[in-house]
Symmetry: none
Subunit: 226 residues, 4 copies
């Protein structure tokens, strides 16, 4: 990583300020509700600068979406060898901490709200976020199946089940009601219950696993999660 010429550094900094401001305003007001003036004001640049950097409102919107999509890549990380139940537990909390963050929810609302006008963006986001996550989860679950810890026929469905059991309910609520994010206790309830059902359906040793889950649930969230 070599030093950039000052021009370039300045340009990049301004580009960053514009992108950040635009994301904020778009997420807040929607595409049509957002004015280029508002973005320029928040970024502290003039309107022509906006246009010099991004060409048009639609292109600026596209640039943000592309960036957010890229940012989302690699969200799934292989867990760290704690054993099945702690891994699922950690994963659930980690993912909840990502997916229920206010900015993440705002972005999701924006994308959903504009999906009719910008279908490619909704599709691209789907491919870069949820589908990637799903693929990672499938790999993980198949590895556990190979070890004899889980049993299922259709790995994709198993991965979907995990997500649907653990996070769909709080996320749906949060999407509709931005001001009432689930509390830590709420999440504990959703996650514990979701994993319980998952393990009942898929574990090769449900009794042990459920006991371990119960213990984790009583300790509270995994460390390092919001």
């Amino acid at each position: 990583m070599t030093a950039l010429p000052p021009r370039t550094r300045n340009r990049l900094a301004k580009e960053r300020r514009i992108l950040d401001s635009a994301l904020k305003v778009f997420a807040d007001q929607g595409y049509s509700g957002t004015s280029m003036d508002a973005i320029a004001a928040l970024a502290g640049v003039s309107k022509p600068t906006l246009y010099q950097y991004f060409g048009s409102k639609e292109q600026l919107f596209g640039a943000i979406m592309a960036e957010q999509r890229d940012t989302m890549l690699g969200a799934f990380e292989e867990p760290d060898g704690l054993g099945l139940v702690p891994e699922l537990w950690a994963f659930s909390w980690h993912y909840a901490g990502t997916v229920l963050r206010p900015e993440f929810l705002s972005l999701a609302r924006l994308i959903i709200g504009e999906a009719q006008r910008f279908p490619e963006i909704g599709r691209a986001y789907q491919a870069a976020g949820p589908e990637r996550m799903l693929a990672g989860m499938m790999d993980y679950l198949m590895a556990r199946k190979a070890e004899g810890r889980l049993t299922f026929d259709d790995a994709e469905m198993a991965a979907e089940d995990l997500w649907g059991l653990v996070l769909s309910a709080p996320r749906n609520r949060a999407l509709h009601d931005p001001e009432n994010l689930p509390s830590r206790a709420d999440l504990n309830r959703f996650i514990t219950n979701g994993l319980r059902v998952f393990l009942k359906a898929y574990s090769t040793d449900p009794a042990t696993d459920l006991a371990q889950l119960q213990a984790l649930s009583e300790q509270g969230p995994a460390q390092g999660t919001p």
Copy 2:
């Protein structure tokens, strides 16, 4: 219900045309993207009439949302005594047929997209739709528990699980990608799998229930569902 004077009938008809047109345009273009001109044109009335009937764009939006919320009430119907598994099966297909209808999805996208600007609306919709449905489902599940057909501790969680297992995945995809609605075969896969997991976790007689589910799955969707 007595006959209305013609003036009133006329007024009601016009009100209806306005509401229908407005819903269509709002769902299509979002709140900010919708112009009162577009609504007036589609409804075939003049703009001042719009304002006479509904006061302002925001109030018109509110009126539509209130109406849609009311329309949604009672979406849950007690099933008809076919027994647990066919009832869950029928319910899943019926609900999928509601929730994945394009107009319903458009409305949901609209509400989610505007949830930041109109938080009461998102909240109200949540209370009138999903929560009501959830309550109905809880009652149903508790009745089955009382009959000894199901076993669980937390009825709310069980109801959430059913929804999360059966419909959250296709609905989420459809929200992001309006042009790729799930096919009948896709739905069959999601519903069959979701109910299988649900029964594994909650049925008091899983072996019998899963066999019955398998039979239904091979027959295809319940009759009368889209």
Copy 3:
């Protein structure tokens, strides 16, 4: 011609004010140099009203040009039986009084200046103005030929010659130099000279005709011409 409803009368009056103002501003500033604000201000209406009446700048421009084109129709009038030379004399002065009027010149400059961007308009104006005039003149000249007063082979060329001899020089100067319109005396010189050459070339009795022309020239312009 029946009385119009007041709405319509009002509308027509406003339309007229807009067209007049727009013609003035366009002729003054050219198409690109004209702002809708300037037109609206001069017409005393708001900008949206402009758009309600004429849709867009380009359409407003087109409307003006169409109207001016129609106005120009019938500019050629059969002279009134004074005999060949007085008729040509009267016609020349009448036509000079039309074609060298400042507004007419401004319009011509506008059309010529925008001919590259609006080729149909230049063409349409050509067809409605000069070509129509030419056709009228051809008819007139052919009638005089039939009477034995003139002699020529190509009536179109004869008509072009008349125009080219009498008015092309002052008009060309005026097009380039709006502030120096030819004086009455200048015109007298151009017209007298042009008709003299025309008669030398085409008259069957040049001696008599030239004498008559000389007399007219000494009396000054035909009555009723500017």
Copy 4:
């Protein structure tokens, strides 16, 4: 003319590129329709360079016009001793080939279109082009008069007549309708006819001259004319 230092050569080359590009764009889009960006892009220089070289849009426009005016000087060349009729014939074709060239017409449209906003330019162009040409022609005609080949009182009028008879019609058409330039055959008709009228009016030996003209007309355009 000594070698210039490279800096200066570079500067001159750049100046030239700017002037050429600007002329093209101005002629195409008119003064108001032309953006400094467009000129800079076509010239391959940056906008500040434009301003450094020419100060402002208006000054750049003035510089182009001054240059074009100078370019036009000396357009009239003494003919080469072929005798009256061939000389007039050659002159007419040569002048038609200049005045009806597309770039020349574009420039004329530009000047006429902007004559109201830039009156000095129209006036200057008039003085440098047409009037100079006219003066040359007057000298030529007076020389022929001195030789007894022509007869007239007012040399200026005779010169105007020649122009008005031969070229005003095709030029006027071309000014209004840029896409329909007159064909070679059209020009032959205009020129032959115009010279015929001129000779009838001014020649001291019309019979001989008209016969010679007829022969030239049947041979077609003078050599070396477009």
